[in-house]
């Protein structure tokens, strides 16, 4: 059995006055009074951000500056509070990354709705959206707190692209062309 039944002993006379317990309690609190404070004095002292921290979601670019998001809208689908809004768009045939075909025309995250669950990061098949270290946001209006694509990229920066899926694809296409 995973639990054990403990006998509850009747209180003795001294215990029934509660006074010994109160005194014990007072001792503990008094001792605490002189202990080191655990408060982190926030704006002056910044917390150490642990690995895997989930701050605000941002969009990232690959090292060549290509926007990684292809507007597959999976994050929009998975986002529990429906904070993400995407309007997909097509990459024109003469653009540099024409072989990627698709990129978001608009990508908004309503930071007032976001609950920092990280589902978007987890679901993203292109590793384009990451919850980074920023955790404190403020603004003067609701509209201001809906972050558009440009702002999300600005906050996101560049991430290494360990799979280089689209790069390989481009390479394969070039090789195929070379072979006729």
């Amino acid at each position: 059995m995973a639990f054990k039944i403990l006998e509850r002993k009747p209180l003795n006379w001294a215990e029934r006055t509660y006074l010994p317990q109160i005194i014990t309690g007072l001792k503990i609190t008094l001792w605490n009074l002189f202990q080191k404070k655990v408060t982190l004095e926030y704006p002056d002292v910044r917390p150490v951000i642990p690995e895997g921290y989930r701050g605000i979601p941002t969009l990232v670019k690959d090292p060549k500056g290509r926007e990684k998001c292809v507007s597959c809208q999976l994050c929009e689908f998975v986002c529990p509070p429906k904070a993400i809004r995407i309007q997909p768009g097509e990459i024109p045939e003469d653009a540099d990354y024409a072989h990627v075909e698709k990129a978001p025309k608009q990508f908004d995250i309503d930071m007032l709705r976001c609950i920092y669950c990280g589902f978007c990061q987890e679901v993203c098949p292109e590793e384009a959206i990451f919850l980074q270290n920023d955790f404190s946001l403020s603004g003067y209006s609701r509209e201001e707190m809906v972050f558009p694509k440009a702002k999300l990229y600005e906050m996101g920066g560049t991430f290494p692209d360990q799979h280089n899926k689209w790069g390989k694809k481009q390479q394969a296409a070039e090789e195929a062309k070379a072979h006729g």
């Binding site: 597959c72 809208q73 689908f77 768009g89 098949p125 694809k169 195929a176």
Partner: protein, 572 residues
């Protein structure tokens, strides 16, 4: 259905016995038995080619002694089953008595794993940018039978990714799994044989025959039946992911065929229209021209205000004003073959309440293509007949009305959704009379109208149409109409109740149906809620003598339909 049962034969699917009609395709038989046999190239409405090999299964048959013809009995006292040593494809196997199949054995699963691995060898990692994602058989079966990683170390084949096969269809060759469904469709259904494969092996490529284009009016069906994202609709391409789309059953209002559709919308915006399978009407097809009808609903041309003499009012004000005009008498009513059965019924009630001197419908005609577009481009002329709004077939020209206005015989016109200036009544002429106009979009009739009621389109309201087969089919609202615009049934109902002083106007089709049940014998015992999704045949034999203009179409033969009607009449 009785009597049919004798014809059923027993088939054994995973050792369970099921009764199916003889000759049933085994993919379908398994479906009836609640089992899924994965398949790509098989399509219930196309011929079988058996080239994808995804539907492999184990096949066995009861053994008989060759010499005596006696069944061989095993130790359990049952007839012994001879299992074929190699798997067979289910799509090319038809049910025969005693057939045994295994849909889920070790061997079968291995086969599927192997087929999947081959299919995926050259398949691009495109799901995030692929329009098919979410409704892609390859994705689904890869989840079930894929190995999860690739053993393929070479470069994948590179093929063209943005080939326009026609004005509406885009091909991504890398994604094509060479199932040939699209080819068969064009050949067998659209009768426009333009597609074919060129090159060999993994370089096989789908292409249009030289000098040809995939541009028939059914081309987008290839997009629907393509099991992968190789064929995409240029119109819908990259617009919205399919998992966001809500499907609302509806009826295509393009012609009197009454194609069953799904309106796919997200948050009040329609993104595409897809066919809804109805084996009695349209199988699984829809003409391309029907898919774009929704585009007109979201324009600036929409009427969104109830107006009297151009100034805004509320529906009650408009109804009161209209009633006053109508009570003055000398009314002509122009109904519409595009209105729903319920609306036509209410319009008929109004017409009789004001003793209209004429009730007419405007006909719309075009060429029938013998498939899913008929010559009569009004979806619901038969509804007008059944509800008693009209007794003869409509004409394209309202010349009679024009002369009646000129002679002063008609002083008020109630037009439901028809632009009278388009059918022979000049605008100057209309200015002479009071026009009450119900319509969804601005037009010249609306401009001269004294009272205007904005109406909803078929995508925004609920109702029923009766198609060329006298099949009653219902549609449901997929998206909300413009703010403040009530369903047509409500505005008509209000007007109606003012005119005949009746109690409570109906608020939806259910209420109208409750009334029609008693008023129209053919409609007795039908209530709106319970109209089956595939529609229900109405006894239209009373009107069969009329010279309907429709010719043959996919499931409609004018001559044959008389017989069907006769049967319906008999069974009632």
């Amino acid at each position: 259905m009785t009597g049919r049962d004798d014809n059923l034969i027993s088939v054994f699917i995973d050792e369970e016995e099921f009764l199916v009609p003889p000759g049933t395709n085994m993919v379908e038989a398994a479906r009836l038995a609640g089992k899924e046999i994965p398949h790509y190239c098989y399509h219930p409405k196309l011929s079988v080619t058996g080239n994808c090999r995804m539907c492999l299964m184990e096949l066995g048959m009861p053994l008989k002694d060759h010499s005596t013809g006696e069944p061989i009995i095993d130790r359990r006292g049952l007839q012994k089953i001879g299992w074929m040593p190699r798997p067979a494809i289910a799509c090319a196997t038809r049910a025969f008595p005693g057939i045994h199949i295994k849909t889920d054995s070790e061997l079968v699963r291995e086969c599927r794993n192997g087929v999947m691995e081959f299919l995926l060898v050259n398949h691009p990692l495109d799901c995030p940018i692929c329009d098919q994602a979410g409704e892609c058989s390859l994705q689904e079966y890869a989840a079930d039978y894929g190995r999860g990683y690739s053993r393929f170390v070479e470069n994948k084949n590179v093929k063209p990714k943005r080939t326009r096969l026609g004005p509406r269809v885009m091909l991504d060759d890398e994604r094509c799994i060479l199932c040939s469904r699209c080819i068969r469709f064009c050949k067998e259904i659209a009768k426009d044989d333009v597609l074919g494969f060129v090159d060999r092996g993994s370089y096989s490529t789908l292409t249009c025959f030289p000098g040809k284009d995939l541009q028939n009016n059914y081309s987008l069906n290839t997009v629907d039946i393509c099991p992968v994202g190789a064929l995409t609709s240029i119109d819908f391409r990259f617009k919205m992911r399919v998992w966001f789309l809500k499907e609302t059953p509806s009826i295509c209002a393009e012609s009197s065929v009454g194609v069953n559709t799904h309106i796919e919308s997200r948050e009040g915006k329609i993104y595409r229209i897809t066919p809804r399978r109805n084996d009695e009407v349209n199988d699984t097809w829809i003409p391309d021209s029907g898919r774009i009808l929704y585009k007109s609903i979201d324009t600036d041309e929409r009427l969104i205000h109830y107006t009297i003499d151009g100034s805004h009012t509320l529906v009650d004000g408009a109804a009161k004003e209209a009633a006053t005009l109508l009570r003055e008498g000398a009314v002509a009513v122009v109904g519409s073959g595009r209105a729903s059965v319920e609306e036509q019924y209410l319009l008929g009630k109004i017409a009789s309440a004001v003793k209209a001197i004429s009730v007419s419908l405007v006909s719309r005609t075009g060429d029938g293509d013998g498939l899913l577009v008929s010559a009569d481009r009004n979806p619901n002329v038969r509804g007008a007949l059944l509800t008693g709004l009209i007794t003869s077939l409509p004409h394209a020209n309202l010349g009679g009305l024009a002369s009646a206005i000129e002679s002063g015989e008609v002083r008020t016109i109630l037009s439901f959704g028809e632009d009278l200036t388009q059918c022979g009544v000049e605008k100057q002429l209309l200015e002479k009379v009071n026009v009450i106009y119900f319509g969804s979009h601005c037009n010249e009739t609306g401009e001269v109208a004294k009272v205007v009621f904005p109406t909803l389109t078929v995508f925004e309201k609920a109702g029923t149409f009766i198609n060329q087969q006298f099949r009653l089919q219902k549609f449901l609202p997929a998206v909300p109409g413009p703010q403040g615009v009530l369903p047509d049934i409500v505005s008509l109902g209000k007007l109606c109740s003012i005119l005949d002083g009746e109690a409570i106007p109906p608020t939806g089709p259910e209420g109208v149906w409750a009334e029609m049940n008693t008023e129209i014998p053919q409609f007795s015992a039908i209530d709106f809620e319970n109209i089956p999704i595939n529609g229900i045949l109405i006894d239209g034999s009373q009107w069969e003598h009329l010279p309907f203009i429709e010719g043959m179409s996919l499931h409609y033969d004018p001559d044959n339909n008389r017989q069907i009607m006769a049967e319906v009449t008999k069974s009632k």
